[in-house]
């Protein structure tokens, strides 16, 4: 167990350093087109080869990680906090408060977000920088992604409210915020963490899919999601394993997150 944690810490540390040092590690700008060598195989010049437009895949991966692995966890944190708040309140109070919260959750789950997002795009000016566009997108994801998680948290909180130790806590005089902070939240931690780390890859991919609406990262800035999207039309791709690296990076980083964040669960 310890070795695994050590590996996870190393992975995350290396990832963090890579993200911070993208500028020094990348052999070329992520947008620079080597037009004489598009779709090149890996070489000394281009560690991971080049993409369709001759851009260095290694550079794009570095900057893509920087964009996605910074913004996605932030958005996930935000959405998990919202889910915890709404789900926790609903589960704690029960009764009509719970009904109201559930109504809100159902509303959020059933609203056709597509139209809303199209409206958001319509309101945004066309001349936004790629960085601003991707930040807005992750902010939207964080703002909208909490409902399903809140439902899970609400169910968990409700179960906890019926548990013996919460009764015991009440009998000792606990109530309100103190009860939530001490007895609900620590025990919902597992569920919240699960929601958190599930949200990260979901957001990374969702950001790429929102590209279809003109949201998300814009050319030439890469994100992990947009790099993954390049893989999706490749039923017939010739064996070019180096192109799968963005996927591998995503899986490894998310797994490392999970290993570290779940230490509490392992012990129990």
């Amino acid at each position: 167990m310890k070795t695994i944690r050590l590996i996870a810490i190393t992975v995350l540390a290396v990832t963090a350093l890579t993200i911070l040092g993208a500028h020094y590690l990348a052999p070329a700008g992520y947008e620079q087109q080597f037009r004489e060598t598009p779709q090149a195989a890996p070489s000394m010049h281009h560690l991971l080869g080049t993409d369709e437009l001759g851009r260095d895949r290694w550079a794009r991966l570095l900057y893509g990680m920087r964009v996605s692995l910074t913004l996605a966890p932030l958005a996930a944190l935000f959405t998990t906090a919202l889910a915890g708040l709404v789900g926790g309140i609903a589960g704690y109070f029960g009764g009509w408060t719970e009904r109201c919260c559930k109504l809100l959750i159902d509303l959020f789950l059933s609203v056709p977000w597509l139209f809303l997002l199209i409206t958001v795009r319509a309101v945004l000016p066309l001349n936004v920088s790629p960085e601003a566009s991707v930040t807005v997108t992750f902010a939207l994801l964080g703002l909208l992604g909490w409902a399903a998680s809140a439902r899970v948290i609400c169910a968990g909180a409700k179960d906890l409210m019926k548990s013996e130790f919460v009764w015991m806590a009440r009998a000792s005089g606990f109530s309100g915020l103190k009860l939530i902070r001490l007895h609900l939240m620590p025990n919902l931690r597992g569920a919240l963490l699960a929601q958190f780390w599930i949200s990260i890859p979901v957001f990374i991919i969702a950001e790429a899919n929102l590209g279809a609406l003109g949201l998300g990262v814009a050319e030439p800035l890469p994100s992990l999601g947009s790099l993954l999207r390049e893989l999706q039309d490749s039923v017939m791709v010739r064996p070019e394993p180096w192109r799968l690296l963005p996927l591998a990076v995503l899986i490894v980083v998310i797994s490392s997150f999970q290993v570290l964040l779940n230490k509490q669960e392992i012990r129990n």
């Binding site: 013996e164 009440r170 620590p186």
Partner: protein, 271 residues
């Protein structure tokens, strides 16, 4: 004057009452056993006295007089001041009554903070004192443990420790020994007896087990069909039961202890 005087009818939703105009009085320093079948409404009574019945969807009518004050008229905020400080509670299954995610120390500290005043030195002293009161090692190592790292008996001692930390006037113990093995059960019963003598607090000892009540209680009240059937000293209950229900209960016991055994048990507080 009675410390607690209860005249209660309790029912859940639209169902028939589980307690029907039950009358009960508790004197200061007295250990009163409340014995009946499981599901006869004993626990509802405990909840009603703690003011938590409405959370389970139950409704209490009548009166609960505490020291001459009507508890049923209290606001939630006033209830909160009583719970854990004046009236405290020891539950049935100690393992699930402790928060699995928190260290014992945190749980005890937080329980102290609810009603305690003073600095952290004061808190530490109170917690250690509580541990000593219940026969647990008063040290940091023990407090750093999680509930999953201690035995059931220790868990029940921790809970009792938390319950007596603020020196309550009444301790309600709801089947506190039924989840324990025979040896631990005896130890915990002995602890209750000792605490009762040492701290002088009253106890409402709720159990389905007449024998454990016998050794501990000053008086035993038998509940059946929502009413008190008979209320008397253990000796009277065991050796001259008045009611058919009581007789049936006594007859159903595997062995009835002799008066001599009872005397001895009372002296050492073991059974």
């Amino acid at each position: 004057m009675d410390l607690l005087s209860v005249r209660l009818t309790i029912n859940y939703k639209d169902k028939p009452p589980v307690l029907d105009e039950l009358c009960l009085d508790l004197r200061p320093g007295e250990v009163l056993g409340l014995v009946g079948h499981s599901g006869c409404g004993k626990s509802s009574l405990a909840l009603a006295i703690l003011g938590l019945l409405n959370l389970k969807g139950g409704k209490a009518r009548g009166s609960i007089l505490w020291d001459g004050h009507e508890l049923l008229a209290l606001k939630e905020k006033e209830w909160r001041k009583l719970r854990g400080k004046v009236i405290s509670f020891v539950p049935q299954s100690p393992m699930s009554a402790l928060n699995p995610a928190l260290r014992l120390g945190t749980q005890m500290n937080e329980a102290w903070k609810l009603h305690g005043h003073g600095g952290s030195d004061h808190m530490e002293e109170s917690v250690f004192q509580a541990l000593r009161d219940v026969g647990l090692p008063p040290n940091e190592e023990f407090l750093r443990r999680y509930p999953s790292e201690i035995s059931v008996g220790q868990a029940q001692r921790v809970l009792i420790g938390m319950a007596i930390m603020h020196r309550p006037a009444l301790l309600i113990a709801d089947e506190p020994t039924s989840a324990l093995d025979a040896v631990t059960q005896a130890e915990i019963l002995a602890l209750f007896g000792e605490l009762n003598r040492k701290l002088g607090m009253s106890m409402l000892f709720i159990s389905h087990d007449l024998v454990s009540a016998y050794g501990l209680c000053h008086r035993i009240a038998l509940i059946n069909a929502g009413k008190i059937v008979e209320c008397n000293t253990p000796q009277a209950i065991f050796f001259s039961p008045q009611q058919p229900f009581t007789k049936k209960l006594i007859a159903a016991l595997p062995t009835v202890p002799s008066p001599a055994e009872v005397e001895q048990a009372l002296r050492y507080n073991t059974f």
